[in-house]
Amino acid sequence: MSRRNATAIACAVSVVVALAYLYDPPWIGGVTSGMGGWEYSDPDTVFRWTNGRASLFIPSHATAVIIPLRSGFPHPFGGAVTVEIRVDDRFLATIALKDPGEWVRQELPLGNRPTRRRFRRIDLHVDRVVGQRLLGVMTGPPTIW
C-alpha cells in the first residue's frame, strides 16, 4: 500500500470515528446557545438571560420539564412577552409572560418520543429583545422529571 493510500484511509477512518462520536457527545448536556452567564438577583434566585433565541439540553430520559421564565422588561408594544418552546424541533408550548417581575414556572410534558441520544434540545424563542445586550428573558435552572 502506498503512503498516499494509507493516509487517505487513515483520514477516512478518522472522519467516520469523529462523526460517530459527534452524533451523541457526552459534553453536549453542558452546551448552551444564546445564553449569558449565571447571575444572582438575591441569595435564593439564580438566573441567566437569554437572547432572542436560546437553546439548552436536558437528559433524554426526562418526561417533563419546568423552565422558570421571567420577562424582566415589558414588551415594547405592550401586552405579554411570549416565549415559544420547542423540543428537538417539535413545538411544545408558547408561554406568555404578562408581568415583567413574575417568575412563571409551567410544567411541560415532553411526551415519550423515542431518541437514541443522551440529551434532548430545548429551544426558546422570545418575541422581543431589549437593549444593546439583546436581552430576551430570564431563565432559571430547569427542573426535570
Partner: protein, 431 residues
C-alpha cells in the same frame, strides 16, 4: 536547513494557528463571529437557513425585528430595507466551512440557527484555513524567485512580524485574511497569465478579480497589479498597454466572468436601495473625507500607525528601493497600490478602523509587501555586516510584534486610541 523550514513552514504555521485559536477562544468572552465579522458572515445564515436574501427573517427571529448597532445592517433611508455595510465576498469564501458547520449541527442535534457552537467555530476556523492557504500560495510565489533562506525569513516576518496572524486567528471572521489570500493568489495568477494566457488562467483571473472586489470594494485597487506587473520604467507603461491589447481575447473572457460574478452583489444593492452601485455606509451618513486625509496618523501614530505597530514593514520600503530582477517588476504596482491604500485609509471617517491590532487596512496587501521584504533580504544576503545587523533586528521585531499581539489578545493593550503614555506603560508587560 532553510529548505526543510520552507517545506514545513505552512504545516507548522497551521499547527501554531490552531493552538493559538484554541487558546484564544477557550478564554475569550467573545465568540469567533463578533464585531465586523457578524456583518461579513450574516449572509450565510440569512440565505441558507432563513431563505431570505433581504435579512428580514433573521432580524425578526433573533432580535424582534431590528438589528442591533454592532451588526452593521442599517435600514436604507428611502426603501426601509436592510443594507449590509459589508459585502458578500467573505461569506462566499466562508461558505464551505459554514456548510460543514450546518451539517454537523444537524448531526449533533445542536440548534440550526446559524450562530451556535459549530457555526461559530466553522467561521472562525475558516480564517485559519485561509491564512494557511494564503501562506502556501505566497511560498509558491517566493520559491519561484528567491533562495530558501530568503523565502523562510520572509514567511516568518510577514506572518508574525505584522498583524497577519492576528487576522487569521483572533479576528478570522473579518475580511482581511480572506483579502490577503485573494491578493496572494491574484499575484500568482497574474504572473502566470503574463507568462502565457490560457482559458483556465484567464477565467481564474476574472473570478479572482470579482472576489477581491466582493470581499472589500476598495480593494479594486489591487487589480492594478495586472497592468502594472513588470513595469519598471515610465516608458514600459505604453508597452504594457500594447501587450494587454494583444491579449484582448483573454482579457475579455476574464472581464465577462468578473462582471457576472459581481452581479449578485449589484442585484442585492438594487433590491435594498434602488441603486445598482452604492456605498452602504451612506445610510449612516459616513464615508471618505478626501480633502483631509490623516496620512501621518495612519502610517506613524501610536493609535494605529502602520510602521509603529509593524516596524518590520520598513524592510519592505527598503526592498522597494533595492529590488533587482523579477522583483523590480513588482515595485511599481506595490508603490502605487500602497499609495492609494494609504490615501483611502487616511481619508476614511474612522481612519483607525475601530478596534484592531495594528492598522488592519493594510493587512490585505501584505502579499505585495512580502515580495519587497524578500527583495530586501536578498539584497542584505550579499552584505556581510548588514546581514549581521538584520539577523538581530528582524527576529527582535518579530518577537515584539508577537508580544504586542498577545497583549492585545489579553487586553493588556488598548484596542484603539492608544496614546504614547499607554504604550509605554504597557510595553512588554502583561497585566
Amino acid at each position: 536547513m532553510a529548505s526543510y523550514g520552507v517545506r514545513h513552514f505552512v504545516a507548522a504555521t497551521a499547527v501554531i494557528a490552531l493552538l493559538a485559536y484554541i487558546w484564544v477562544f477557550s478564554r475569550s468572552a467573545d465568540p469567533p463571529i463578533h464585531s465586523d465579522g457578524y456583518g461579513y458572515y450574516v449572509y450565510l445564515p440569512s440565505w441558507a437557513i432563513y431563505h431570505d436574501v433581504g435579512f428580514d427573517a433573521l432580524a425578526h427571529d433573533w432580535y424582534g425585528g431590528s438589528y442591533p448597532d454592532f451588526a452593521g445592517l442599517p435600514r436604507w433611508p428611502t426603501t426601509g430595507h436592510w443594507v449590509n455595510l459589508h459585502p458578500m465576498g467573505t461569506a462566499i469564501l466562508m461558505a464551505p466551512f459554514f456548510a460543514v458547520g450546518d451539517l454537523l449541527s444537524q448531526w449533533s442535534n445542536l440548534p440550526r440557527d446559524g450562530f451556535s457552537l459549530y457555526y461559530q467555530h466553522a467561521a472562525g476556523l475558516s480564517g485559519v484555513a485561509y491564512l494557511v492557504a494564503a501562506l502556501a500560495v505566497l511560498r509558491r510565489i517566493l520559491t519561484r524567485h528567491f533562495t530558501d533562506g530568503v523565502v523562510l525569513a520572509t514567511l516568518v516576518c510577514i506572518t508574525w512580524g505584522t498583524n497577519l496572524f492576528h487576522y487569521g486567528v483572533f479576528d478570522g471572521t473579518f475580511s482581511h485574511v480572506y483579502s490577503f489570500f485573494l491578493v496572494c493568489l491574484w499575484i500568482l495568477i497574474v504572473e502566470m497569465w503574463w507568462e502565457g494566457p490560457t482559458w483556465p488562467n484567464s477565467l481564474a483571473l476574472g473570478a479572482l478579480a470579482a472576489l477581491i472586489v466582493l470581499v472589500r470594494h476598495t480593494n479594486a485597487i489591487f487589480l492594478l497589479v495586472l497592468p502594472l506587473h513588470g513595469v519598471t520604467r515610465a516608458t514600459d507603461w505604453r508597452t504594457r498597454m500594447g501587450a494587454l491589447w494583444e491579449r484582448k481575447k483573454w482579457l475579455g473572457a476574464a472581464m465577462v466572468v468578473g462582471i457576472a460574478a459581481v452581479l449578485p452583489q449589484m442585484l442585492l444593492y438594487r433590491m435594498s436601495t434602488s441603486h445598482w452601485l452604492v456605498s452602504p455606509y451612506s445610510a449612516l451618513s459616513i464615508g471618505f473625507s478626501f480633502g483631509s486625509p490623516r496620512l501621518v496618523g495612519v502610517l506613524f501614530s501610536t493609535q494605529k500607525g502602520l510602521f509603529f505597530w509593524s516596524p518590520l514593514l520598513v524592510f519592505a520600503v527598503i526592498g522597494a528601493i533595492v529590488a533587482k530582477g523579477w522583483t523590480r517588476g513588482i515595485v511599481w504596482p506595490a508603490v502605487v497600490i500602497f499609495g492609494l491604500q494609504t490615501y483611502l485609509a487616511a481619508s476614511w471617517w474612522d481612519w483607525q478602523f475601530g478596534a484592531s491590532y495594528g492598522h488592519r487596512a493594510f493587512t490585505d496587501g501584505l502579499g505585495l509587501a512580502a515580495l519587497l521584504i524578500a527583495a530586501f533580504f536578498e539584497w542584505v544576503a550579499t552584505r556581510v555586516d548588514l546581514r549581521r545587523v538584520v539577523s538581530i533586528v528582524a527576529p527582535a521585531l518579530v518577537v515584539l510584534s508577537v508580544v504586542q499581539m498577545v497583549q492585545y489578545w489579553t487586553g493588556s493593550m488598548p484596542s484603539a486610541n492608544t496614546s504614547w503614555e499607554q504604550y509605554r506603560a504597557s510595553f512588554l508587560r502583561f497585566r
